[in-house]
Amino acid sequence: MAQPLHDNSCDEHVFSSLFKKHSKNLHDFLYYKFGSQLNPKDKVQDAFIKLWDNCKKVPPEKAKSFLFTTANNLMLNAVAHQKVVLKHQKKPQKHSTNESPEFLLEEKQYNEKLQKALENLTEAQRVAFLLNRVEGKRFKEIAQLLDISVKAVEKRIYGALKKLREDIEEL
């Protein structure tokens, strides 16, 4: 059995490496779960500050679940059941020159439908699905991140895909 190098996260190097390792994932998780209006960046900061305050009690290997739980709770306190708003990043269109107006309109409508459908997913489905599709994470990685089984991730993502397709067709 390998002994953990540090039994708490108080050392600044340990803390810094924890931050580099988890902050982006935590941020993405919060964004996909709660949307943009509650400022996930701030919650990430707050969660890490809490980790620093409690660094004596939290060994580095427990830091991830501490951070996710803390940030999630911080969000839940702030949420008070606000509706999720995901922002479509307005990237410059790749082939904007020779597209017909009909095509552009269609695409716009499709995006609106997709956004509604995404907002209608359960939090668990949306987080897993977007981490998979947008961040390109594999099932195993998501399972580790969320502390659930690979099978559960599979189920969530497949379920999300099915529901999205149904919703888009309906709308």
């Binding site: 580099k20 996909y32 499709y110 977007l130 599979e154």
Partner: protein, 295 residues
């Protein structure tokens, strides 16, 4: 290969080239890729963990900076409390009490002495003594004051100011008496100011002021005797009760009668005789109460 399996593998980014081809041949390939590509537009805002870390590092630094401040503040608080308690107690007034039949001698901070008769209290402040020699007195006391700045004795009846002298102050209910034995004593009574020379006594009984001579060199109570000159009997009996813990019933007597004489502090019967014989009074003890009657 099942359609569903292909989709699962596609979702898990786990298609090999053969499977990829099979997947592309699926009828809903277009729908799926379109959905997948459109979803990418909902990417979370870019997150730069380095710049975010620099923000948090700043916050943590200010926190750790406060870490040494906290215990320092605690130590400072303890010191402050300790110092204030010390200051408070050291500037606190000193109080000296005597009970019935007790007399005590006290040195004031500048070697002046106060001798307290029974059932009396003096209050003074050690700290400010050097520039404010003030004693508050309730009861009777003899003062031997060292030469120096003004020395004040404040009673509820009047104020006595001296420079360096020996004098006796007696303040009881409706009874105020100052006797000067040495030096010069200034008495302020009811905004009336007078100076007492050695061998003089200033007495106020029930508002009546009298001036008498005193031949002794120190108060009689200091040799365990109390002396009165033309004093109403009720004050004599009140004084007696300060030296002997007894209750006296004099309801059948005219306690305004004047008494001149003295009684001892050592023997109750002798003291009672000294008071009653000259006034033609008899006394009897009844359930611990001494009843006085005219003959």
């Amino acid at each position: 290969m099942e359609r569903e399996d292909l989709i699962q593998k596609w979702l898990d980014h786990n298609l090999n080239s053969e499977e990829q081809k099979a997947f592309e041949k699926l009828e809903d390939y277009d729908v799926l890729t379109k959905l997948s590509n459109a979803t990418k537009g909902y990417k979370a805002p870019a997150y730069d963990s380095d710049s975010e870390y620099s923000i948090i590092a700043e916050k943590i630094k200010s926190k750790t900076a406060k870490n040494w401040l906290k215990p320092l503040i605690r130590v400072a608080a303890v010191l402050l409390i300790g110092f204030s308690i010390f200051y408070y107690t050291s500037t606190l007034d000193t109080t000296i009490n005597t009970t019935i039949a007790e007399a005590t001698i006290t040195n004031l901070p500048d070697a002046s002495t106060v001798e307290l008769n029974s059932k009396s209290t003096i209050i003074y402040n050690k700290k400010s003594w050097s520039n404010n020699r003030t004693v508050r007195l309730e009861g009777e006391a003899f003062f031997d004051v060292e030469k120096g700045s003004k020395f004040d004795v404040i009673t509820s009846e009047g104020k006595i100011s001296v420079l360096g002298t020996r004098f006796n102050v007696k303040q009881r209910q409706n009874y105020f008496e100052v006797t000067c034995y040495e030096g010069l004593v200034a008495v302020t009574y009811n905004e009336q100011y007078m100076e007492l020379r050695p061998g003089n006594r200033f007495t106020v009984i029930d508002g009546i002021i009298t001036n008498e001579k005193e031949k002794r060199t120190k108060p009689s109570w200091m040799s365990n005797e109390t002396t009165f000159t033309s004093t109403p009997l009720k004050y004599v009996l009140a004084e007696l009760q300060r030296h002997y813990n007894v209750s006296i019933d004099a309801s059948q007597l005219d306690t305004q009668r004047l008494f001149t004489g003295s009684f001892t502090h050592k023997n109750l019967d002798l003291a009672l005789q000294s008071i009653t014989l000259p006034l033609d009074i008899t006394f009897s003890k009844n359930n611990g109460v001494i009843v006085l009657q005219s003959e």
